[in-house]
């Protein structure tokens, strides 16, 4: 596994994830978030969302995975901050893109975002910090 001094500012990383038809239901089962806007298309439509949307925290779990692949190990991820910019819907393919912005001691900081297959931002202002000793 790489140590912090083996990372370079400007280094890029990416990860692709698909929100398949049942992903919101699978995530509901695993996380306990059964809010009807995630599992019932009629409720999602009534809320003005055009159907069900994926739980934001599932998108965030994917952002965490993108950062973990950069850092090389799950427990190296110490901090993750995101803003949810737009709903993710079944059928969407998300691309997480990030860049290392700072290396300070053992701490490697990266910024990241996610866009859907139309290039629309679904997650923005992402900030990850990893401890890479």
């Amino acid at each position: 596994m790489r140590r912090a001094d083996e990372f370079t500012v400007g280094e890029r990383f990416s990860l692709q994830r698909e929100c398949d038809r049942y992903r919101p239901i699978y995530y509901a089962a695993a996380s306990g978030d059964f809010n009807p806007i995630h599992i019932d298309p009629e409720v999602g439509a009534a809320a003005g969302l055009g159907g069900v949307i994926l739980q934001g925290l599932c998108t965030m779990a994917w952002a965490a995975e993108a950062a973990i692949r950069l850092y090389g190990e799950p427990t190296r991820l110490k901090k993750l901050k995101v803003r949810f910019a737009r709903p993710v819907k079944p059928g969407d393919t998300l691309t997480f893109q990030g860049v290392v912005t700072k290396v300070e001691g053992a701490r490697v900081t990266a910024e990241l975002e996610a866009v859907n297959q139309r290039g629309e931002q679904v997650l923005k202002g992402g900030l990850a910090e990893g401890e890479c000793e």
Binding site: Y26, A30, A46, G56, C58, K78
Partner: protein, 170 residues
């Protein structure tokens, strides 16, 4: 319905949660592109799933000595004060108009099956601006050794009638 500014400073918890191996595995499968089932719906384990989340034999050979939960598994226990705050009728949150706006986690200690987590949380923002209401809850989870393991900062955005319900994004 309107968010009550008196929500500010309210605290919720403690909530106790015992981390279970099979729950960790289900969570890892659900976010890893698999199916959280070992029953009729079971599907192949995705080939790129991190074995540390899933395979006790593999995990035994690592410095962790056991399966480690994916970092955002923390929502299972860390979110509870936030969930309590948004559902507290005194706070006046319109749940159908609520979207998750921002989220921050600090992962301070690994979370493993068998850990017993205790979580408390406090409302740190309860305000309205530009036809939207904002509710932030900071939730802290300690493990059975008293170590602060996860700090989560949850920000809900509640669309109000004036903001135009159908055009807002989360």
């Amino acid at each position: 319905m309107a968010l009550d500014p008196k929500s500010l400073g309210k605290s919720y918890g403690p909530y106790r949660y015992e981390v279970g191996l099979e729950k960790v595995r289900e969570f890892a499968l659900a976010v890893g592109g698999g199916v959280p089932s070992a029953s009729f719906s079971a599907a192949p384990i995705p080939s790129d799933l991190q074995p540390l989340y899933f395979d006790p034999e593999y995990a035994k050979g690592t410095r962790h000595g056991s399966v480690v939960a994916p970092p955002t598994f923390a929502v299972l226990f860390n979110i509870r004060p936030f969930a309590a705050a948004v559902r507290d009728p005194e706070n006046g949150v319109d749940l159908l108009m609520l979207v998750h706006g921002e989220q921050e986690f600090e992962f301070l200690q690994p979370v493993k099956p068998g850990d017993v987590m205790e979580t408390v949380g406090e409302v740190t923002v309860a305000s309205a601006r530009g036809g939207r209401e904002f509710l932030t809850v900071v939730c802290q989870s300690r493990n059975q050794r008293g170590e602060l393991a996860v700090r989560g900062t949850y920000t809900a955005v509640i669309r109000t009638a004036r903001s135009g319900a159908t055009h807002a994004s989360p």
